[in-house]
Amino acid sequence: MKNRYIGKPLRRNEDARLLTGQALFVDDVHIPGMLHVAFLRSDHAHARIGSIDVSAALERPGVVAAYTAQDLGDYWQPGPLLVPPPPIKDIVFHACTQVPLVRDKVRHCGEALAAIVATSRYIAEDALDDIVVELEPLDAVVDVERALEPASPRIHEHIESNLAAHVVQEKGRYETAARQAHRIIKRRFLYDRGVAAAMENRGVVANWDEKSQQMTIWDTTQAPIPIRNGLAAMLGLSESQVQVIAPFIGGGFGPKIMMFYPEEVLIPWIARELKCAVKWIEDRQENFFATTHERGQVHEAEMALSEDGRILGVRDVFLHDTGAYDPYGLTVPINSQCTLLGPYRVPNYYSEFKAVFTNKPIVTPYRGAGRQHGVFVMERLLDIAARELEIDRVEIRRRNYIAPDDFPHNHEIIYQDFAPLTYDSGNYLPALERAVEMIDYHKFLEKEKARLRAEGRYAGIGIVSYVEGTGIGPYEGARVTVEASGKVCLVTGVGTQGQGHYTSFAQVVAEQLGVEVSDIRVITGDTREFHWGTGTFASRGAVVAGNACHAAAKAVREKILKLAARLLKVPEADLVLEGGRVQVKGKPDQAIQLGDLARQANPLRGAVTPGTEPGLEATAYFGPERGATASGVHAMLVEVDPETMMVEIKRYVVVHDCGTVLNPMILEGQIQGGVAQGIGNAFYEQLHFSDNGELLNASFMDYLLPTALDVPPIETDHIETPSPLNPLGVKGAGEAGAIPTGALFVQALEDALSDLDLEINEIPLSPQRLFELVEAAKLERTVVS
């Protein structure tokens, strides 16, 4: 049957509320008598606590309470390990998780030392100046490579070094491949830190109602259900006493999937201590060091190739900077390790990494979640190999793609979901060919480039491939109810941060029930409405929750057909659902409205038949055995200003394959936004730390996000290779746009500056850094000649 709603670019159900200022965000929650919290944070990255004296703060009018670690008693506990290490042979992993308030030692700048509660945020912030802190500063561990030197200061004294984890994964024998190789390419690659910078900072409001013994928490989290379960346990309450609401969230991108942040743990505790409502809203500066970071890795990689450019093997040894704590386990470096293999056949692979503690803010997933690094290393190795073997960049990729009949393709290593890294499906060549055609790759290289160069202009082209493991388990659920009004209510446990779930999930349900998408009210992220599930992360919303919505809608459809067949006295097969009613095929006058049917399914008198349930409602769950692998090709044309080293992106093309498309308008929006973050990561955004571990550019004045002048229109096209692992055939798309951009950027820049034989093996860049690299390349050429 042809889809009626799935695959259509329908306008979003949620937009009217967002556009009129009526959507509820966490900072919009107002409760009479609510108190406000501000945190005193450490300026030092590594320091031993002498004393913290809050007595003067308590004297200030309007201050209600002040807390240090000592005041928390037994509630003071390091946070839980959110993701345990995967079952990989000989794995070493030391869990050191964040603490609610520093008790003994500060381990990164911005770590919270004390909390002030006052009648207004202004007074709470004033009172921070009243706190007297004695600290003994220690040498800070900033550089990820020096962190493992024996003389390095130790961050966690109970473990013998700053090593957080050591993981080796191997497929085949790289040494054998290297011995047989025609050419070995060996390089060092650097990828530095950035922030997700969601426009909404984090925030928590908690309200303890003493009379009903209920805790209500509004939280900017991507995972309201695990937060509820964890906080109930910490507070010694029943899960049914705690309601966590993730209302409209102003962008997530990963750092809001980090759970049990210190503030998230403390605000509900303070609300219960003071028996009232308490609010904390992070400011932008706090967001730079109290919200998690990503991206710091150093790779030493090599690739063994045959004469015709086929990959015989890859060896990659890297360091991963996990920051001061590692609550999110090894998700990020495991993603780097696995995603490196990309869409390519790699018969032999040796990958080893060490995760390292540093005195810097914590690293947890941020859009891409380590996949960028793997793609950067692989694509760079292929670019360099192509140059050295004199093979075209597109051709070397084509030669190494996994063939369309080679799926499922097992890479024989373990992925972040603990399952073997097996690609469910893929068809890579059509996307590459389409991207080549869209960007006019051959014409540019054969004609345009030389023409522009003759005019004194430096233009270049880039093209890269990637895969993205998406839609991992364990499961999500959904409940679909046809209400007496004939409208439908859809509830799911995942929260939403702008992905359009109110519309795309409704499309999935509308497809089964034949009601208008605008007649489906979607509720997400409220544990009182639905309390089974994990959260919105790893490009899994559409795959896992989407298929749960599909399953619940199908179950309701069956109930509708069964009841309608009985009432209309026709076989179920003769019925169709459309326009909000059930109708006998070909007989529009023999029909019943869904609302009427819902009322009949929930009678006020009479009996419900044994073995049946009242109402037209069903709850269903979906848990994939493993993730679905999306893929894509990005291509870009750039021009570099040789004076200022400013880069202008002339064109940016994305050909993407995420299986069945639910709503192409929303999908393209996800890709465009992802690319914009990728561009920021490649050329604008970099965190700078001093030798003492202070973050030097913690503001939007100094940390540059791309603006409307920096991000070009993104031209997109889609290939649909449905996933065989879920009924809808969907694969995730949330992170795809951001993953290959760094690799693409440097390839295009090298092409634009090909006169200089420039090789760029680091991200992020900036005009200044590009200038330095160009000057160094010029100098080298002078020395050589």
């Binding site: 009217a16 556009l19 509820l24 202004y122 503001s699």
Partner: protein
């Protein structure tokens, strides 16, 4: 450590006169959000860079996190809530409608500030070029959309507003 004296502020917001006693240091953004419960105006950076808190002060787009409430005394303010006095139940403003049509928003946090930046821009530039639109938007950060759909929304809105 005495609290500061309070000042009386009288402002017209979305056509309605409000009078409140406030501290002189109270930001206009906090005044609108927390004193008047007009929470459609969002706060993204509190240092004047992101533009999420943009409102109209006597018809001009300003950042409400860089102005004290007392500075708005006796003046006229329009917030995003003022674009559709009935909360959009009947119809959206053509600019809002265009954002919906062109998918010019995702999480929607930066959107109210962007709308308020564009209202005077479109009055001054009824037929803007893409370059002019991007220039006008360059003081508003959006982390979700990549801006292109916002540009398309502005083009669409300009057309609707021109042809009424």
């Amino acid at each position: 450590m005495e609290n500061a004296p309070l000042f009386s502020v009288k402002v017209t917001v979305n056509g309605q006169l409000f009078e409140r006693e406030v501290e002189p240091r109270l930001l206009l953004s906090d005044f609108l959000r927390h004193e008047l419960a007009l929470t459609g105006t969002h706060v993204g950076c509190e240092h004047g860079v992101c533009g999420a808190c943009t409102v109209l002060l006597n018809g001009e787009a300003v950042r409400s996190c860089l102005i004290f409430a007392v500075q708005a005394h006796g003046q006229e303010i329009v917030t995003v809530e003022g674009l559709t006095p009935d909360g959009g139940r009947e119809a959206l403003h053509p600019l809002q409608e265009a954002f919906r049509e062109a998918h010019g928003l995702q999480c929607g946090f930066c959107t109210p500030g962007i709308l308020m930046t564009l209202i005077p821009f479109l009055q001054e530039h009824p037929q803007p070029s893409e370059g002019e639109i991007r220039e006008a938007l360059s003081g508003n950060l959006c982390r979700c959309t990549g801006y292109h759909n916002i540009v398309k929304a502005v083009q669409l809105a300009a057309e609707t507003l021109r042809h009424g």
